[in-house]
Symmetry: C2
Subunit: 411 residues, 2 copies
Amino acid sequence: MSDRYFQHTFPNGLTLLAEKMAGVQSAAMTLLVNAGVSTDPVDRCGSATVLSDLVLRGAGARDSRQLTDYLDSLGLQRSSSAGVHHSRFGCAALATKVMTGLATYADIVRRPHLPEAGFDAARDLALQGLAGLDDEPRQKLLIKLREWHFPSPYGRNTMGRKEDLEKLTIDLMKVDHTDRYQPHGAILAVAGNIDFATLKSEVEKYFGDWSGRPTEPVKVMPPPGRTHHEDQQSEQTHIGLAYPSIPETSDDYYVVRMATEVLSGGMSGRLFTEIREKRALVYSVWAGYTALKDQGSIMAYAGTSNDRAQATLDCLLSEIHRLSDGVTQPELDRAKIGLKASTIMQGESTSSRCGSIAHDFFVRGRIRTLDEIKNAIDAVTLDRVNDFLKKHLPGNFTIVTVGPKPLNLPT
Amino acid sequence: MSDRYFQHTFPNGLTLLAEKMAGVQSAAMTLLVNAGVSTDPVDRCGSATVLSDLVLRGAGARDSRQLTDYLDSLGLQRSSSAGVHHSRFGCAALATKVMTGLATYADIVRRPHLPEAGFDAARDLALQGLAGLDDEPRQKLLIKLREWHFPSPYGRNTMGRKEDLEKLTIDLMKVDHTDRYQPHGAILAVAGNIDFATLKSEVEKYFGDWSGRPTEPVKVMPPPGRTHHEDQQSEQTHIGLAYPSIPETSDDYYVVRMATEVLSGGMSGRLFTEIREKRALVYSVWAGYTALKDQGSIMAYAGTSNDRAQATLDCLLSEIHRLSDGVTQPELDRAKIGLKASTIMQGESTSSRCGSIAHDFFVRGRIRTLDEIKNAIDAVTLDRVNDFLKKHLPGNFTIVTVGPKPLNLPT
């Protein structure tokens, strides 16, 4: 670990990660607590979502309005969301202001007011978000694809479920906050113009005496099936496809990433050139590697007009299968250069880096340095990629469509 | 102009802008040519859109596939689009690779092959993009709002018009390329880890002997009306609203920006707190300042369920009118801090900076330094804001809705 990185786990189980970046005045922070949709209680899917809104409606000495005004008065550009594994609170601003804001983020996760009036509004907004999906068929498709591909509760919609949201009460939210907003396993990552010693002592001051361990009432169940069609009257059909791959911690991780880049990285990616540029079958098509903590997958999407939908699905599957025949040296070279370029670009963004080191720690238990990533990319050879592709044939597909009629699926 | 900025206009009318950024390895480039949808010939709306795709399908010594492969082999993360005033070509990567790519971007704008086969695919994709809008009612609303608010041709949909796209031919594209891809008025901006002298000599080498002046066959016409309802069967109603403001070059520019921040900046913005957080009327609501070269506007959007749509529109209008009563000192302070924080964050991104200096030159004829922006923000006082708001009452609204039924509009 060079002077650039810092990692420390406090006795209460909270891990602080930091990255010092040259030439920036800003800093960005990400705080992950173990309240994701996958740990929502069985019949309360969406609890984490509502909670991640509700904790911001007053905390510590400040009511809802005062809290919002105060954080805006620091110039913090903020975001918050509930994901599969965590609820995430993020901010970015001048580094000194991010440091000042730490005390208030401690209030938010440790001492939220959870007001009853705020609860009604927060749940209403969650229900409206769900209802709005009817106007977003592409987003709906990607949500359905996760539901049908990943085992439950990992495939749950992070926006929650209507029936469950309707069952929530402010008292249930309070119990849920106590159960899951706990330091053990939580991650606080900061990247930018920071001093490690100061950061550590500030975090210790505000989070050090927090204590507890989240409950994890998760029972894993297989997804409902492998294929699904969602009827939607439209001129467009949206197609989603997924198949299992290796986990992110595998030694072959960059081998798979590189193969996926050949399929869909840059503009010379096969899906883009074959399906979009040459055949003009689709306006949008992509494939990418995506992972839960222990499970990797390749997911692909195409959106097209109804009359082109069957040809698009056939072509998409055909390109995925063709990958098993191997990639060429020039394709691999481009994939490497593309991935390294995007690593360099992300290395210059405080928000991107604090998100990356937090993710690294969650998946791998440690920060990967930018040099380590660069070396891992360099170490991928053509033989390794083609050997891997030959041994790991794509299969066991999940296929989901949203549109006016189902397509013919491969048997 | 400090050591950080560089500006030079070549004899052919191409302007080179550059910003040197400390602590980065990357650079980003933006190239603007005067082929925007507003200069599309009268009955060929969408010509710039198809052309911005077609010029990438082979240029100089490389055919379509070779060109794509080559640019990917430099690791260039690329984007291109047709806007109102320009077609824009952008890339970002390691600074040395961006420098290497300059020669190829000269091929693209000066010596594209414009192949007939590529034309069919490029036009098909443009038509598909348009058809896909039916599944994107929010995007459709924002397009319709511009059409009904700005004078034609400035309000044209940058994706083109179906009837016009169908009339295009490869021969018309060739004529259009000759007419509009010209150096006079074009802007090339680079930000990042660069050396001004080297950059200038490279640009001179590849673009210096380019010559010509684009034709601008624009006849300005008023928009078709002030209110419009687009019928779409859905559970959601999308509401767009716009009214005239001062141009970006006005001394009061930051006065208006600050007032708009009070309305809709950060999370303490009035629209967010009143309409979303307190009343939970909408999932998404915002307002912002937007400008063509000579004309500024305030635009606002809200998306909500049909049963809340009328209340949302009424509430949105009421908050906009309430702004005329003035803002408070704490509101102004937060607005200033928020705008300065986002200026600092953008100042650390090469892509953001090269886009900003190109925009500055187009609108103002010169680069604004980050210090100049910061000072202009600081110079805004509460009296100036409230005096401005009293003298410039909102009115002459354009109101557009997309949903199952029209709303009651103010008379």
